[in-house]
Assembly symmetry: C2
Homo-oligomer: 479 residues x 2
């Protein structure tokens, strides 16, 4: 037998493992003093790395040392308390440790039989979470529906579209493809870019997405325009297959009217997919469920605990009312995966719920979050973020160099410099370049705006105030 | 301001983190005494969980305790030294700690600008790994090609198909969809099921996959049959878009002749995708590169370090010769992701290399594996697995109740009981049910066979011998 290489001994694993945990704790403690946005130019990180992998192994300590030397200066720190860009992807200690345990277990949950606990804990946790969000029972696993953890909301939207095509075609698309049936997909001008990407990937093409106008004030879909567009398309012989609704758009947190749009969609048997990637988790608070009114009419719903709900990426929770459409679109059964449990029909095989075959035990991290925070703790976290956003809105109102662009949406505030687009962009860029805080921009009704999204559990009122002072200074410099 | 919930303090994180590391070390130490396959029936795990999430938070210690009480009995232990089913997904201590650090950093690498180190370390590590496997320079990131970490080989095959459609249509598919152009995709009868799934998802449908016969002895694609099939299809007005080649099929580890098949494909401008999900990593050993001969003709190539190369799931390394086809098929650029670095053209934005938008810092775990093992250590690991498989083949040859079904392929051995299909299946099922070892089955030329795939770094010769004795006893019980 050839020699085995030197694998870490159990003692070494404990020692390096404890060191890795401590590295993370130290990294988090250092964040407040680090520039939020990486201060590197293209190629700077790469230049610090050798051209090839080493011939002989190094100690794990060397990897840890290079995290400090090579990686940290090249990071934009998403876990920084003054990271307000995009939507923060905040990650709690409990989720990280849950995910670590999943790695240690190293099980593949592609089908129930390959590790039953992977599937059953995920089903249980998705039912818990559906209940915590006040979602309808139709999404629970004990009826014809059910939930699954997807990697991202983009994948959820894509699988929703595949399910919609399966249902609308009576299974013909699975067999013969989308053909030239002129399928049409609808979303507002504010729909996430993953809708167009889903249409491209599903073989429909970008042009199959019909973009519906929004109300200029709320940025929510104009449902009358949706009705008219679908009617036009049907009259022209096109086939409406899915309506994508944003419950919290990326740009401004706009909330489409789910009930009204779903009624239009149902009239044409189109699938209704609700993309609440960011805002859905706010529904753990009963007072923040208004934006999901009508969700009982939806065919599918997605929200991302990996954004605002303390669960380390990736964890996108996706539910369908009728899992038969989903598995009809995606099921495959090669010989080597045939087994008695699958044939009994008593189990769920998650392989048929998403594009991938292999899947890790992602439910542990969400289980750890739900259990260690409890519903109370999650509510407190969401309320804290919303209160900080309200504070930002007050700061904007109190300084006449700034103006709100849309009403605050949960923990997202969108505002601009009254002086104009160029000044708005320059002020944001100055703050970002300073490393003091990190914000992102958008365009609303043709004008540039700054987005400040609160999400991290590390963010305090002092962080918001410090960011605001930096913005005020940048605005003053523009004047 | 509302109260913040009780997040773990840094001290608590260290304490629970060290406990999680220790839990994993203890779990690994216990594996040898656990049944490999879970001994539970459908619903057994679920019944141990409460119906709802708790109202108030519990300690992380309670989660750890429930791993032992609820989860472990419901696991099939993929990290067990006598796990020989499917392809083992083995996970080394270094990879697990690398992934833990990625969770702690919690950066989103969707574009270069959102955390430059995520992209640049990944580019560097994929170049290192391409060199370590002896892949052609055309796959390196400093030319028109490049590598990216996908979640699974299924996703790699799907993105290869989207790239192929983009190139073949001159970009028309992106815009107008696949239409009724009668695209055809080719793979052998032994191609992974993800090829059909990819065709379904891309809107081509199952029927677009034309299945090519294999040589009965080697199970490799019959290249003459491929040539004839493509010629027939072209004559019938169909459009060959991609040829999928298995460099190590799932069933028996069959190796398609890449050079010969690629020559046929090139004659029709069809994309050549090489799926070496399991066997590709063996190429870290120069003497185990024969199955990749001709890969310089491939348009894309995938292999999974998360199977046989010690990297915790998910880590599927995917390279293309021409990244323009890939990004052409998948690029989107919403306003909020516009930035100077992207517009300069100096950076790679991995968002456009896969279906998802968000992406975690997966390169750290592969970096940790390459560095802590070194090329030498990885070669020793691969050689050790192959030597154990050769030992299994000798055991099969020495017992006339058993017979080989195909020649051993690297670390995979496929054999059966001479007595027949029913006896073969019963003997395997007896071993699996006993928990002593875990094997999987397949069908080769219409007959049932047992697959024994060596992969775990924990597997010793004693584990193989113990498994063999269990199989012999089961065979005796069938006689």
């Amino acid at each position: 037998m050839p020699d085995q290489p030197a694998h870490m001994t159990p003692e070494e694993f404990r020692r390096h493992g404890h060191a890795a945990i401590d590295w993370i704790a130290d990294y988090w403690a250092s964040l407040d003093d680090l520039p939020v946005r990486a201060q590197v130019a293209p190629g700077d990180v790469r230049r610090l790395l050798p051209a090839s992998a080493p011939e002989t192994g190094e100690s794990f300590d060397a990897v840890l040392a290079d995290l400090d030397r090579v990686v940290v200066p090249g990071l934009t720190h998403w876990q920084h308390p003054r990271f307000f860009a995009y939507f923060p992807a905040n990650s709690s200690p409990a989720a990280i440790l849950g995910d670590l345990l999943s790695s240690g277990i190293g099980a593949q949950g592609m089908i129930w039989a390959t590790s039953p606990a992977v599937t059953e804990v995920e089903q249980a946790v998705l039912d818990w979470f559906a209940e915590a969000l006040g979602l309808p029972d139709t999404f629970r696993s004990d009826g014809p529906g059910g939930g699954v953890i997807q990697d991202t909301a983009s994948t959820a939207t894509f699988t929703a579209l595949l399910s919609a095509l399966h249902r609308a075609s009576g299974g013909d698309v699975r067999r013969h493809g989308v053909g030239d049936a002129d399928w049409r997909v609808y979303g507002s001008t504010q729909a996430h870019s993953s809708l167009v990407k889903a249409a491209m990937m599903a073989g429909l093409g970008e042009d199959a997405v019909r973009t519906i106008a929004v109300d200029p004030a709320t940025q929510a879909m104009d449902v009358a325009a949706l009705r008219a567009a679908i009617a036009d398309d049907v009259a022209a012989g096109l086939r409406p297959v899915m309506v994508h609704l944003a419950a919290g758009s990326t740009s401004t947190g706009a909330m489409d009217d789910i009930a009204a749009a779903a009624e239009v969609a149902r009239g044409h048997d189109a699938w209704v997919h609700v993309d609440a990637a960011w805002a859905g988790v706010a529904a753990v608070c009963p007072e923040h469920r208004g934006h999901l009114a009508g969700v009982e009419s939806a065919d599918s719903f997605v929200t991302n605990p990996h954004k605002w709900l303390l669960t380390t990426f990736d964890c996108s929770t996706f539910w369908v009312r009728d899992r038969a459409a989903l598995t009809g679109a995606l099921s495959i059964l090669p010989e080597y995966l045939r087994n008695a449990a699958t044939e009994s029909g008593e189990v769920v095989d998650y392989r048929d719920w998403h594009p991938q075959l292999g899947r890790r035990f992602r439910a542990i991290k969400l289980w750890a979050v739900l259990r260690t925070y409890g519903i109370d703790g999650l509510q407190a976290h969401i309320r804290s973020g919303i209160a900080l956003a309200e504070h930002v809105a007050e700061l904007v109102a109190a300084d006449d160099r700034f103006e709100m662009v849309t009403e605050p949406s949960l923990s997202l505030v969108v505002f601009r410099l009254a002086a104009g687009d160029e000044q708005t962009m320059a002020a944001m860029e100055a703050v970002n370049a300073s490393g003091e805080a990190y914000l992102s921009h958008t365009t609303v009704e043709g004008r540039t705006a700054i987005r400040l999204a609160v999400g991290s559990w590390r963010t305090t009122r002092a962080d918001v105030d410090r960011t605001w002072r930096a913005l005020q200074e940048a605005a003053a410099a523009q004047a």
